[in-house]
């Protein structure tokens, strides 16, 4: 069977920032007034942003396609267009079959209502009719494992129970085509496994699935082919393994503006003698970027201005995890000469390779004169993320737990076999 179930042709989606059509009442009135009096309205600045540009692809029946790409590459917008939540600006998508989309689990769940009521509510929102929900009700309850709390309002549920119930409803949707966002990243590890299993069943049941994820291990497990998006365009499509490789390789040559933050002098951070002018993350070749491969070291650069000479000044850097806790801290005080002259300075350090885990991190910076005063309040200035990469062939299949994943050298030495061989008399 190779019937085409989804055909995407020239899909583009434009967002207008600060646009007519989403403006305030006052803007609309003044716009209407100026139209009325024949004034030109060109002054209204419109910033256009193409979230998707000329997307073309086809999905055959029974295919499980992974859509991968960095944050902001257009994955979510594509899903929203496919799910009819938002309209494309141009192009056309033809879908042959009953489609359901799962961009979130538990959409429409109401905290005041009981688990039982929410199953019906959520089911209806996902497009099941009452009969269908009724016939699957027991199965859903069993899958979720919350039988005992069916008549308790879900606001009293633990977050784990909540997610399990929500996913249980979603997992029992039986459309011919399923569009899933990263809903698998919720819940505890064991439940995730169960969900993945369920998803696998769905895929093997001959249904067509579009699956968006950052979790390469899940994409590898589930998908039969992949589409890589970048800056709103399809940059690669092919077999899953090739797509993942293409994506990981492309991370290395990415030029992202988000790996850098700069201020003009008049707006620079810091009120005292010091002004923070820029913070940058660069790769080994000196290119500014925000996504790094785990096997590459990262250059952290801080540019600042001193209004007058300062003795004993110190810049402190904290690398924080995505939940905000401090992974480690480092300070210029450790090695640098302490006295600084008025003027522009730039300092840098290298964040080690083979150290971070696959995750997002933040760079927080603070500066001060020890025991005297603070020059710059601590704040998060940059985000960066790490993609695990250990070279082709030796890639880790599953993510390691923990905030860091240093590559450790292990050595094993053979001592003797005394304990095993029989004693000599």
């Amino acid at each position: 069977m190779s019937k085409t179930t989804i055909k995407v042709e020239n899909i583009s989606k434009k967002y207008t920032l600060g646009m007519i059509g989403s403006g305030s009442l006052r803007e609309s009135i003044s716009l209407g007034a100026s139209k009325l009096f024949g004034k030109k309205t060109e002054e209204i600045s419109q910033k256009e942003f193409w979230a998707l540009r000329d997307i073309n692809f086809e999905v055959k029946q029974g295919e499980v396609v992974g859509i991968i790409g960095k944050n902001g590459a257009g994955k979510s917008t594509l899903l929203k267009v496919l799910s009819r939540i938002t309209q494309p600006t141009t192009g056309q998508i033809t879908i042959d079959g009953r489609i359901a989309s799962l961009l979130e689990v538990g959409t429409g769940f109401h905290p005041e209502l009981s688990g039982r009521e929410n199953i019906f509510l959520n089911g209806a929102i996902l497009g099941m009719d009452r009969k269908e929900i009724k016939s699957k009700f027991d199965e859903i309850v069993e899958f979720s494992g919350v039988e005992k709390f069916l008549d308790t309002p879900v606001k009293r549920y633990s977050s784990g129970m909540y997610v399990r119930l929500a996913f249980a409803v979603a997992a029992h949707l039986e459309p011919e085509i399923l569009v899933i966002d990263e809903v698998l990243s919720v819940g505890d590890a064991e439940f995730q496994k169960k969900c993945l299993g369920k998803m696998n069943d769905v895929a093997k049941g001959g249904r067509t699935v579009l699956f968006v994820s950052h979790n390469m291990a899940a994409v590898r497990d589930l998908c039969s082919s992949g589409i890589v998006l970048n800056h709103g365009e399809v940059v690669f499509s092919g077999k899953t393994e090739d797509s993942i490789n293409y994506y990981l390789e492309s991370l290395n040559e990415d030029i992202s503006t988000t790996g850098e933050i700069e201020w003009p002098i008049e707006k620079a951070k810091g009120k005292e003698e010091m002004r923070l002018l820029a913070v940058r993350l660069k790769n080994e070749e000196g290119k500014v970027q925000s996504v790094f491969r785990s096997d590459k070291k990262i250059k952290l650069e801080i540019e600042y201005l001193l209004v007058k000479d300062i003795g004993e000044m110190r810049i402190n850097v904290q690398i924080r995890t995505k939940d905000g806790s401090i992974l480690f801290a480092t300070s210029t005080h450790d090695i640098e000469p302490k006295d600084k002259l008025a003027g522009r300075h730039i300092c840098h350090t290298w964040l080690p390779a083979n150290f971070f885990n696959q995750s997002n991190y933040k760079v927080a910076i603070q500066a001060g004169i020890p025991q005297v005063k603070q020059l710059l309040k601590i704040d998060n200035y940059l985000d960066f993320s790490i993609e695990h990469y250990l070279g082709t062939g030796s890639r880790l299949n599953k993510l390691l737990p923990g905030y860091t994943a240093p590559v450790m050298n292990w050595e094993t030495k053979y001592i003797n076999n005394d304990a095993i061989s029989p004693h000599k008399e």
Binding site: S22, K80, T89, G91, Q92, I95, L103, A124
Partner: protein, 274 residues
Amino acid sequence: MSVKTIIKPSKNPFKINFKELWQYRDLLWTLTYRDFRVKYAQTAIGFTWAIINPVFTILILSFVFGTIAKVGTGDTGVPHLLYTTAGLCGWTYFATLLGQAGNSIIGAQGMVKKIYFPRLVIPLSKAITAFIDLGITLLIIAGLMIFYGIAPKASIMFLPLFLLIAIITGLAGGIWMSALTIRYRDFQHITPLLLRVGMYATPIAFPASAVPESYRMFFYLNPMAGVVEGVRWSILGGTPPDSYAYISFGIIIIFFILSLFYFNKVEKIMADIL
């Protein structure tokens, strides 16, 4: 079974998909049920609130207009309490619906941004819940009429017609406000203001005949004036609604149709501007 969906930009706001709306009737009922449950869940006396609220509104209005201001009850000759209740009956559906529908889509934005369904389902579910309030005022009227021993007049046969107009006015207002509130958040403040002003600009607790002749035409610019007069006349008899009122009925129908088109237009960009 083969369902074919075509997704493409649609620019025509006059194409309303009623068939699809019908297909989503299960969702409509479920959302209505949810609203109803949530409204009275966790309150000590639950549904009783739905009766207490209109009772107190009637008492206070009747006290201020009937007992203090002594505006009378026109030529119906009924006690002021009953007169006010019949007036409120025409107003209540409109007021409840406008008050709830305005914020309904913002309130449901979690859903709107995550899943597709005809968005009209949201204000429509509010329209169904609002029937409860209408039904309760009708019950109060019946109770009062029995209590005072007043029989309905022949004009009662027009009650379904005028109630229908009241419902259409409520729907028109509710759909307009739900779409306008997303486009312009200012309407979150405008709606309650409109309702507060409307409560006194509409002849709920006083007869339209108490309004000076020179203001009469402006008075009927408020479409609810005709609706409230009409509902009350069909229940209590007396002078039929002024001919100006029929102009406002025409305007209501036009507004109702326009509300569907406007909603349809805003629906397409809803998820983007929420």
